[in-house]
Symmetry: C3
Subunit: 269 residues, 3 copies
């Protein structure tokens, strides 16, 4: 189990309010910025090739999400990932719909060369990404949790990074230690880009604890699960759920995070 | 009147959760995705020329909204519309502010060649679009409902599609049968991009019922009107209205849609 | 003190519902449009080089925010600023993070040549912008209010415009008359792009009162402060705060604006 209570990671985040360089899709930008601000990080969105490398170098972490990809953005993402790699800035890759088109597969292949600290995706994305990394091109939209866990461990070992597969329950691994996290709420998939925002939240926590990307990731995911559960208690639908989720992230205390996280170590996959 | 109760179309939508390829403006993206998710469809936003045709071909429907147009996006929209046409994927055109600049007129002219299944706009947009289709360039910002209805019928007959003119009351036609729909709430124009989202919702319903684009469009518009009325009941302003609208779309039952839609056939225009 | 009660400016805005051409960052677009609609203006977002000049010329005001800048957008912003200048359309510059990269400094330098009516930024941005205007390149992230006020007056005098420095308290000057405005709420910095939206709201008020850009700006800023204070009264966090802010702007009466604005003239800086 984690070496420190998960609440310590939230405490560190709020004490340092890390600057997180977010290169994310158009759908997710506003929502992601608000999720980070509510929790305690400081998001900045910029993507121009003229400035991304300069900016990544002064950020606490970089978060790259390929949702509404285009060629100029893909080039800028590669520049930012390279800058992160060269400056030892942690960065997170969110390979949205990587299995859906060859364009996305090619871009992710290039990005992986710059060693992300964390990869976060759903089961299908993690399986598709592992397929690419192994020269395959397979996409399985109905990926089982079991298959996704195996793919996640393979990816983590190959790229020496943390891999988080999120869904009804989350599976998190650094290739050696594996965890399962439960919680959240059934309304979460009815709100757009919560997963995208979660990737940037993971980047925020890793920015505040660079030496422990696995535990920092667990803390970020647990924040989301607990806040999601709380938001769902009184929500009437996805509109009031969104509002309540931001309020719950803002109100979440480190002690609550430590005590309410539904985390278990996974020994055999 | 419709051949089936309108609620059947909502039931079909929720049973199939169609994947809707949305190429929409930056302002509308997040809001549109949330409106579709709340109602029961599955939105995907992507726009790169490298992948739009590949993706449209696997989608249930395509929705094109020219709100924050640019040349690369216009080219990609044409590629997607062509892919929809060739693959018999239904698609919806939302000609935002088509009368405002020659750039928009030119792009819409090109798009119309790929036979949209449905065109949705406000009275001025539908009149401007009909002006283009008839080689005119006229724009009338103070378009009357009567003039817009005449333009809608002309457009529908020329392009063999459904045309929906939305506003305080909606007018919907396939060139042969005409309907008027009332409902909604005075706060709706005080929330941005609800019309844009409605276009994508129409695409979602048509995806679930490809053979009945007129009735599927009526169902989508009626969902919005009923949910809007309900959302307005307790709203304190446009902030709480937005939240309540998403909740109301989520809660709306097929039976409510069938019984509460304020729909009438229009015999003489 | 202002020549007319501030509420008169809100009355004028609502009576004319000015069309405001917003070229703003992707994060802020939806939120900005909703802030303007809630208050009573009519926002339009477009950015293509093919149409910006044509559209700016028919707008009541232009608002330029460089948040998610890129080269094509920078070129379009220059075209729009030039069109505003040539057609005597008031325009507002929001120099987001101008101190962070040389790209942003270069673009702002070019834009300043087209004489903005109002510049709105935080203390660091106004200081950085003044540094550029004086051939310096200095950035001071910990700018004091005092230093920012001095920079604001220098910028206002050099460019013959209104400069608004916003933060915990706001400082507004046209180079001759100076004001301090207090109010707002501690949750405001926990919601993304409220400052960006405020810049566009300033443009809206100036559109409705072109001859009094200083007083129109004061009215816009006071609207935000009062609505922010009210929204904070019952908010549980940044989610419910956002909702309540839109409702409060919608409900704000001209008389409340006149009587509740916490405005004082500043005689010595």
């Amino acid at each position: 189990m984690p070496s420190r209570p998960l609440g310590d990671y939230l405490r560190d985040l709020r004490a340092t309010t890390p600057l997180v360089h977010c290169m994310t899709n158009y759908v997710a930008m506003n929502s992601t910025a608000n999720l980070l601000l509510a929790t305690g990080a400081s998001p900045a969105m910029l993507h121009a090739q003229e400035e991304v490398a300069e900016f990544t170098a002064i950020a606490g972490a970089l978060s790259i999400n390929i949702g509404t990809l285009s060629s100029p953005w893909a080039d800028a993402m590669v520049m930012a990932a390279r800058a992160a790699h060269e400056n030892h800035i942690p960065w997170v890759l969110d390979p949205v719909a990587v299995g859906a088109t060859t364009f996305r597969q090619r871009v992710c292949e290039t990005l992986l060369a710059y060693q992300p600290s964390v990869i976060r995706g759903n089961a299908s994305e993690i399986q598709a990404l592992n397929g690419i990394a192994n020269q395959g091109r397979g996409v399985d939209a109905t990926a089982s949790t079991q298959e996704a866990a195996t793919a996640a461990i393979a990816l983590a070992q190959q790229h020496r990074c943390v891999v988080a597969v999120t869904g009804e329950s989350d599976f998190i691994t650094d290739g050696t230690d594996h965890y399962r996290l439960t919680g959240g709420h059934a309304l979460m998939p009815r709100v757009t880009t919560l997963g995208c925002g979660l990737s940037a939240l993971v980047a925020s926590f890793v920015a505040a604890n660079r030496e422990q990307p696995l535990e920092a990731s667990l803390a970020a995911l647990a924040c989301f699960s607990i806040a999601g559960s709380r938001a769902g208690e009184h929500a009437q639908g996805p509109g009031s759920f969104q509002v309540a989720l931001l309020d719950a992230l803002y109100q979440l205390s480190p002690d609550d995070l430590s005590t309410l996280a539904q985390l278990e170590a996974v020994h055999a996959v």
